[in-house]
């Protein structure tokens, strides 16, 4: 029997590293449904979870998979599912429930090319806006974009920590290339892994208000069976959790679920940079596309172009402050992504007209080559 944390150096795919990251983070429930190219996460964790006291279930569809992890989280267990675009489309209904009921959970999307069934076995980054806005109504969400198997291991832990801290579903927006890429993954000792659990309900059980926010805007969470007799609903609700069908009620609830993210951006947003200090042209990228962008930066520097990379680790919330600051001093931005312009729009918006923004996009199915990025760097600026 293997331990929950597989300390040591491994050679594994992004999908497997994601499953191992979940186990290291304390995930003990996975509700899944097979879909290329995310299936390996379910396959791997289905064997591992029962060995570490957790439970895996393959549900009848992605709707049920998502509902089951929200239910499991309400029972106090860190829970996760993994899917690809078509599955995410189905999960968004209950992602909305998790947002509204402030139930922590992690959803992995190993992106493939769409729309519809698209190119099931070939990667893309076309679901970035879907991750942000896919469920109905206005809300804030957290999405991470790992760029290697090693990073997916750590970001899965981060995803759980952020989800538990802010009681919000966290999406891991990886892609087929990273999911299926095998690389060296070093897993530290269990005691070196920092894990966070949701703020716990305390105090008098008859007076507990399950949606009364704490100091950081996040309410402590009562678990089913703890005796708090909570009511949880996807209807607009007041601090007691009771349906509140008023305009005022909607405003209060919305400002809480939006505010807990917007007021904690410094704690949530994670970015990475490469040769950015003196950069005149900034490549903005994430996931697999940030890897090709790195090569393009090196080549550009070799040719005397002062390029740098601004890599998004959290894609949502978007680091608009950082882009705005850069916009004031750089010649321009080049967004590199495997879609026909999604995060590009965010960069453009954040730059606020202070610097021109160019897209190096692709419909998906293959990676964007460094040559193409380099060509655009030269032509556009």
């Amino acid at each position: 029997m293997k331990p929950a944390v597989l300390t040591g150096a491994h050679f594994m795919t992004g999908d497997v590293a994601c499953a191992e990251g979940a186990l290291a983070a304390g995930c003990r429930f996975f509700g899944g449904y097979p879909i290329t190219p995310a299936t390996e996460i379910a396959e791997h964790i289905s064997g591992r979870l029962p060995q570490v006291g957790g439970t895996f279930i393959q549900m009848e569809d992605e709707i049920a998979a998502m509902a089951s992890i929200v239910g499991a989280s309400c029972a106090g267990v860190k829970s996760m599912t993994a899917t690809s675009g078509p599955g995410l489309s189905l999960m968004l209904e209950n992602i909305g429930l998790a947002v509204c009921t402030e139930t922590p959970c992690v959803v992995v999307n190993v992106q493939r090319a769409g729309p519809s069934t698209g190119l099931p076995t070939l990667g893309a980054q076309g679901d970035m806006m879907q991750a942000r806005w896919g469920s109905h109504g206005h809300y804030e969400i957290i999405a991470l974009a790992p760029a290697s198997p090693q990073e997916i291991f750590y970001q899965t832990i981060e995803a759980f920590n952020l989800s538990e801290t802010y009681r919000v579903p966290v999406l891991i927006m990886t892609d087929e290339m990273i999911g299926h890429l095998s690389e060296r993954v070093v897993i530290p000792e269990a005691k070196a892994i920092h894990t966070v659990s949701r703020p716990k309900a305390r105090g008098r059980k008859d007076r507990f208000k399950p949606f009364a926010p704490g100091p950081n805007g996040v309410a402590p969470m009562a678990i089913a069976g703890e005796g708090y007799h909570i009511h949880v609903t996807g209807l607009t609700h007041d601090e007691r959790g009771y349906p509140d069908m008023t305009v005022e009620g909607q405003e209060v609830m919305m400002s809480r679920i939006v505010g807990k993210i917007r007021n904690n951006l410094k704690d949530i947003i994670r970015t990475d940079s490469y040769l950015l200090d003196d950069a005149e042209i900034v490549i903005v990228s994430y996931g697999v596309s940030s890897r090709t962008s790195l090569a393009a930066v090196d080549e550009a520097r070799a040719q005397g172009i002062k390029a740098g990379l601004f890599r998004l680790i959290t894609v949502w919330p978007f680091p608009e402050e950082e882009i705005r600051k850069l916009a004031a001093r750089v010649k321009g931005f080049v967004t590199v992504e495997l879609n026909l312009g999604q995060i590009h729009l965010e960069v453009e918006r954040s730059a606020g007209g202070l610097a021109p923004c160019v897209l190096v996009g692709h419909a998906g199915g293959t990676i964007i080559t460094p040559d193409r990025v380099l060509k655009t760097l030269k032509e556009a600026f």
């Binding site: 089951s68 239910g71 106090g76 829970s79």
Partner: protein, 284 residues
């Protein structure tokens, strides 16, 4: 002897969110009766109520979870059963009761129902069947009788309804019964049995919807109750294939399935968990 409404307590007040009463259900609607029976059964069964959770979907019956003074979850349309599955599997100590309606559980949630029954998830599902979508104003449902008028079948329903106990039986439920809200004691007793059944237990409760179904089909609430009185026959162990709802011919009520078979968790533990882990747990 004098009726009073001052400082008196209904026997179920301890299990009710009394600050939310009166509930939203219309005059003559039977959901309140089915809900009260569910609460009475929960008390009578002797299960630990602190470890009991009610889960509902969306719709009139789906509001049930909002009135019980226990941990309660009002989820998304049709998804009460997969949500309940997650709750139960994550904490097997919980008693999970799904209280929802026919549209929620059998149209949008139909797939989840049959898979919950197939896996034999140890939960209790109480379905209030009022033959239509009440919350949205009386549209045709998967349970609406052939020919019945609804707002989306203005000249009559061209399709036939599901036989819910047959579906539950065929999918593998370990307890299946059908009652009407008029058969209140039988219904209550049946929900109690269902709560105590280890496995996927299903109780269908026929209930009037006078405002949305009845109005268009010349059936006031008391007419529905009279139909329940005159046109039903109690036939325990009747074969589920004989349970079509047709009030012209008569509707069969009773308990049709009451078996024990390994639950989802039993099988998972036996199949997937390392034996040494199970032994450790037993020792603990």
């Amino acid at each position: 002897m004098t009726p009073t409404n001052k400082s008196i307590n209904h026997p179920l007040d301890d299990l009710l969110r009394t600050d939310r009463i009166p509930h939203i259900w219309c005059p003559g609607c039977g959901i309140g009766t089915a809900f009260a029976a569910c609460l009475t059964a929960m008390k009578a069964s002797g299960i630990d109520l602190e470890k009991t959770v009610m889960v509902s979907g969306i719709g009139c019956s789906g509001r049930g979870a909002g009135y019980v003074m226990l941990d309660s979850y009002h989820t998304t349309h049709g998804r009460a059963i997969p949500f309940a599955t997650g709750l139960k599997l994550a904490n097997p100590e919980l008693n999970v009761v799904v209280f929802s309606g026919d549209g929620d559980l059998f149209a949008i949630g139909g797939n989840h129902f049959i898979h919950g029954a197939r896996r034999n998830v140890d939960i209790t599902v109480v379905c209030v069947n009022n033959l239509n979508y009440g919350m949205t104003g009386g549209q045709v449902a998967a349970t609406t009788p052939l020919g019945a008028k609804t707002t989306t079948t203005p000249v009559g329903n061209p399709d036939g309804p599901f036989n819910l106990p047959l579906m539950a039986y065929a999918a593998g439920a370990s307890y299946v019964s059908r009652w009407t809200i008029l058969h209140t004691r039988d219904m209550t007793e049946s929900i109690k049995d269902a709560l105590l059944n280890r496995g996927f237990a299903f109780v269908e409760v026929l209930s009037p919807c006078p405002v949305n179904f009845g109005r268009r089909n010349k059936e006031k609430a008391l007419d529905s109750l009279r139909l329940y009185q005159e046109k039903t026959i109690i036939k325990n162990d009747a074969h589920p294939s004989e349970l079509d709802i047709d009030f012209e011919r008569g509707v069969t009520l009773g308990k049709f399935v009451d078996i024990e078979r390994p639950t989802c968790i039993d099988r998972y533990d036996a199949t997937c968990r390392p034996p040494e882990m199970l032994e450790e747990e037993k020792a603990a």
